[in-house]
């Protein structure tokens, strides 16, 4: 079952992972973007991990608190899209104490659609959304945390590999579509790395 405590544990893990990932993700973004993906995520996830969700019994409220923490800590594309996703999940779980692991797939699909709408990108543009889409699909019908972790990890890595040799079509990297071939999108890379950290 996914409870506020699950979220608390997840943000703690993600926070730990960022200690190593921050500079790696900055460098990935520096190649074609402005080099701040890692620093921004470290700040946003730090803000989330600082929340105390242990007394929270409404899962939707816990997601909403995470969304607010993200919004308070950044104005970047990726950070704002993360908040959009969390808001979508907050709406889906509002008023319930927990969700089943099998609910995760449709929740992520809804989050993906909210992000597509907010950001104006399309699937296939080589963004974090292609990673999320792959994971949402892979989790279809999965019922245990262990299986969810394994499936999500494999799907996120697979998406990264699939898109590596395709050109970026949105964001700062759009201008260098050709240069971007062979290079990971920093948002997608961050997503895969964080999924791996949560699944480990």
């Amino acid at each position: 079952m996914i409870t506020p405590q699950t979220l608390q544990d997840a943000t703690a893990r993600a926070h730990d992972a960022m200690a190593v990932l921050e500079q790696e993700l900055n460098q990935a973004d520096a190649v074609l973007g402005d080099g701040d993906t890692g620093g921004m995520l470290a700040r946003v996830i730090g803000g989330m991990a600082a929340l105390d969700l242990s007394q929270e019994d409404d899962l939707g409220a816990a997601f909403a608190a995470l969304a607010r923490a993200a919004l308070a800590n950044t104005g970047s594309s990726l950070g704002t899209l993360m908040a959009t996703a969390l808001t979508s999940m907050a709406k889906a779980t509002k008023g319930t104490p927990s969700a089943e692991w099998s609910d995760l797939s449709p929740m992520l699909a809804d989050a993906r659609d909210a992000m597509l709408k907010r950001g104006g990108a399309s699937l296939g543009d080589k963004t974090v959304l292609d990673g999320l889409d792959a994971v949402a699909t892979a989790l279809n019908g999965v019922e245990t945390p262990a299986a969810a972790g394994a499936q999500a990890r494999a799907a996120a890595d697979q998406a990264l590999a699939t898109f590596r040799d395709l050109p970026c079509k949105v964001g700062r990297a759009r201008m260098f579509a050709d240069k971007s071939i062979g290079i990971d999108d920093p948002g997608m890379l961050a997503f895969a790395k964080l999924v791996a950290a949560l699944a480990a």
Binding site: Q23, N26, A30, V31, L32, G33, D34, G35, D36, G39, M40, R43, L71, A72, N73, T74, G75, S76, S77, L78, G79, T80, L81, T84, R118, G119, V170, G171, R172, R174, M175, F176, K179
Partner: protein
């Protein structure tokens, strides 16, 4: 890189404190103190003009809050868009009951946050419109001009929006005229040496000794191409060739020119560039109105410069000459 700062995490807030301490016509406001607004408040019945953006570009963005320019501005972290709440707070601070124009650079984060802010404010009955700064010709082909990012040339859009709003135009007209101004500004930049974000382990990019990069963005995003360092006149020609190859449909014979330092490049060098720009524009038969030479839109201590051309029409020229006053730019009739 040595910086006169305290804790990196305090960089933005302490600089904003100093800004308003020095300039009492500005105040810090907003839930998190991330809005700069005019101390005298929004003028009732006037259309508000709001901007917002990342920090580290002073005087842009928030330095241009003042009479005949911006009414309020939301402030993000270094090189990172302002958050939703600051955008909401800035719009509210600028609202005089006649609607608010949101005028900011075309960056994903900024766009999403201002959009979310407007959605929330719709409930409160504040009408808003949007014009995106899209002057950087290096960032997309002319056919996709609406995808271009905003750099130094947004200053001209500020001036026009501020002037027409000051004259009492309604929101629709303010928006329409500002959009036209933006569509007539073209900028190209050149980077010589990087800056470093406070707290970062390394500079935002590296450029080998003797190399420069044309078309680089103001956050260090890669440019169009790297080339060997060249004499200033040749560089100015190179940049002007690109600017003049990309004229708005109905460009007239008058332009304003902004020769801007990205930070460390001294104004002496800007004047050397301007000397050549003026020579070339003279040759092209273009008349220069109200040129601006200085550090107007920077990237902290980045070395380099940008050249912007603002292709005027009669109304835009008149609005450009309207009085304006903020700590970093003032125009008198």
């Amino acid at each position: 890189m040595k910086k006169l700062i305290n804790r990196p995490g305090d960089y933005v807030d302490q600089a904003l404190d100093g800004l308003v301490a020095a300039h009492p016509a500005m105040i810090r406001t907003g839930t998190a103190g991330r809005v700069i607004a005019r101390a005298e408040g929004a003028r009732k019945g006037k259309v508000g003009v709001v901007s917002g953006g990342g920090f580290g570009h002073l005087p842009l963005f928030c330095g241009y809050v003042g009479q005949g320019l911006l009414d309020a501005c939301s402030v993000g972290n270094v090189f990172e868009g302002p958050n939703v709440q600051s955008c909401i707070d800035a719009i509210k601070a600028a609202d005089g009951g006649a609607g608010v124009l949101k005028l900011f650079g075309n960056y994903g984060g900024d766009r999403m946050n201002f959009e979310m802010a407007s959605e929330m404010l719709d409930f409160e009955g504040i009408e808003t419109t949007t014009v995106l700064g899209t002057d950087d010709i290096a960032s997309a082909a002319p056919e996709e001009a609406q995808k271009r990012r905003g750099v130094a040339g947004i200053l001209y859009a500020y001036k026009i929006a501020g002037a027409i709003a000051e004259r009492g135009a309604a929101l629709a007209e303010v928006t329409e005229v500002t959009a036209r101004a933006n569509a007539r500004v073209r900028t190209i930049g050149v980077a010589l040496a990087p800056c470093q974000v406070p707290g970062a382990e390394r500079p935002t990019f590296t450029l080998p000794e003797g190399e420069i990069e044309l078309g680089m963005g103001i956050h260090g995003e890669p440019g169009i191409w790297r080339t060997q360092m060249m004499p200033a006149d040749q560089l100015a020609d190179e940049m002007l060739n690109r600017l003049l190859a990309d004229l708005p449909a109905d460009a007239g014979g008058k332009v304003s020119v902004l020769v801007n330092s990205l930070g460390a490049t001294p104004v002496e060098e800007l004047f050397i560039l301007y000397r050549r720009v003026r020579e070339r524009l003279d040759q092209e038969g273009l008349q220069i109105v109200q040129p601006m030479i200085g550090p107007y839109v920077t990237s902290m201590e980045m070395a380099g410069a940008s050249i912007s051309l603002f292709h005027l029409d009669e109304q835009l020229e008149d609005l450009l000459r309207d009085p304006a006053d903020c700590p970093f730019w003032s125009v008198r009739r």
